[in-house]
Subunit: 424 residues, 2 copies
Amino acid sequence: MSARAGIVVTGTEVLTGRIADRNGPWLADRLLELGVELAHITICGDRPADIEAQLRFLAGVGVDLIITSGGLGPTADDLTVETVARFCGREVLLDTELEARIAEILKPMMARYTGPGAPDFATVRAANRKQAMVPAGATVLDPVGTAPGLVVPGTPTVVVLPGPPRELQPMWDKAIRTPEAQQAIAGRTRYEQQTVRMFGLPESGLADTLQHGQQSIADFHRLEITTCLRRGELEIVTRYEPDAAGAYAELVALLRERHAGKIFSEDGALVDDLVARLLAGRWIATAESCTAGMLAARLADQPGASDYLAGGVVSYSNNAKEDLLGVDAALIAEYGAVSEPVAEAMAAGALRRFGADTAVAITGIAGPGGGTPDKPVGTVCFCVALGDGRMLTRTTLLPGDRADIRERSTTVAMHLLRRALSTD
Amino acid sequence: MSARAGIVVTGTEVLTGRIADRNGPWLADRLLELGVELAHITICGDRPADIEAQLRFLAGVGVDLIITSGGLGPTADDLTVETVARFCGREVLLDTELEARIAEILKPMMARYTGPGAPDFATVRAANRKQAMVPAGATVLDPVGTAPGLVVPGTPTVVVLPGPPRELQPMWDKAIRTPEAQQAIAGRTRYEQQTVRMFGLPESGLADTLQHGQQSIADFHRLEITTCLRRGELEIVTRYEPDAAGAYAELVALLRERHAGKIFSEDGALVDDLVARLLAGRWIATAESCTAGMLAARLADQPGASDYLAGGVVSYSNNAKEDLLGVDAALIAEYGAVSEPVAEAMAAGALRRFGADTAVAITGIAGPGGGTPDKPVGTVCFCVALGDGRMLTRTTLLPGDRADIRERSTTVAMHLLRRALSTD
């Protein structure tokens, strides 16, 4: 037995890449947790014929559940409900009680917009009447914003959710708990999923190890392994039914044997999580040039970061390096702003200025301009300085464009920080 | 006549959301520029049956061109080439010349990895031999990384590209210029596309205006309009054939008439572009608390930002606000760190410390903790201070979770900056 699902993401703005889809990945995670096999995500614009073609495709490959996101808004290009109804062979009817509920929701929202050009209430209510049109026999999920969701039973069952992630996410829990959805995914299998993360190993090196595992591990074929190189980190995700846990243990042993120094996480923890744990009881400051605040922002992504994050200086200009971090102008003149001595002086300055016991400095050439034969675009110098005087300094040459180099720089800095704090 | 295309994105790591797909949106833009209609993007894992089902679906809906991304790597889960070959009914053959070329590419790459655990050259070359397997009759596109691309002629023609964006993007230009690809898209139509951006108008207010346009503009039906609310900004993208330009001009006139103060861009320019232009000849510094560097990093996203970006202070802790920005401790004690007086003092401090003529300060409660009845999570105070003593100060209550609030804060700050500098 198993249960398979497909996700249909609608919206011309998503299809054309003007906004990135966050719902497909989020729903994929939820399905994985449930043990439902996600087979396909399909994206199309706000065209009924294209939406319907995707629904038919997914029904044709035999999924048990389809989840749609988007196309529930008040504008005329929002056509998901009527398309799903047609696909399911159901009439669309006005739900007057739901219409009244939406009207209640709109009142306070409209109060926020006033002045010339603001829409009047009656007009808005009319535009939102279409959000109260429901396929016969469908279960209505209460609006989080103004758009209700739907569960339309059938073969496959279709769960219709709004596009904005902050509306879709709270609605999902209610949708999947409906008897119709539970019945659709009744055949789901429980899987285990484990993640190992490495830093500093090429993907082909891992391929070699996995080939070895294929020969040395008896139940290797029961492990569904996917590998992914991202921002210099190699992620190995393995999914297996619970009784194949022994094979997975053998795989982990093999990885440890061959790549001990490169593995930084065996429990799925990100380098951000590890660094956050290592920073407990410490006080950290950053000094950033080319990344211009991205590292500080990344540290602050963790809720509760105020326990250990003092702050940072974005010393984009040389003057800022001198005035705010106390970097000696002579050092910049002699070695250049992108150099290990300057990175070290920046880190030392951050320690001092913030009264911190941990500091990270980044100075580099992100391009597109500013490269030289000696220091091409992608040259980035890092320093981690600790309160006891220890320093860990590195220079790397990072690939990619301006955005890649800056983002990758934050990852290198996180790993340097992890190393410096792990050997404490 | 028209030409339609579909994109097949493969990779279990993309399907399961572990990495975000950047290729679908990027290819969507390229197709749009060419006047090729993108009908569907489909995403599946590294399973040949699912990849083939998607290829058949796209062929079934009649697209002229399919572009695949991913699944060209050396690992055993990379199966796109053989699946495409089967779909096209072509044999797969070893291209020995290509194999030699890949071997040459690998040599210097391998030199970067040394020490225990590093893969030996012969193993890697064997793992990469499969990258030299080519469907009979296909045109080979030279590798940018180690994976070659392919153009496989047929109905539809299939362009096979590698997954990493930095390999896919340079290869695309060569792919689309091949005679096989040109023939597939011969029926393309030239479209115009224009974008209007607004800030501070609800989507339903726009819906009302568009309904009005439907009645008042004769050729309204010839405009393909999509609207999208993103980070508080409303984006209206309109596509039309060149001879419907008059209808578009009428639409823009209508938008101006009804929402003059809310329109900030009529040429597709982002607020980031506008702010970058307004900052020419100025010298800006940031002072950030909850956003912790995201605004400085966003300013630095623009190549050439060093012409106007002095730097910034991430004053995450109260001490940092006092020590690095000179905020009076008494002010924090009296009004709280999240308050307009503190935002103003932070901006003034940034002006002073960086010798800047423009400064932006952000201080807010991003959550999940730290909210109070008076200042709930989402309360954010902003101040733009200019060298002539003028200040623009605002407090907003932003919706969403920690990440939403922080990101939205940078957008509000950009618009405040735009307003302050526009009225100069």
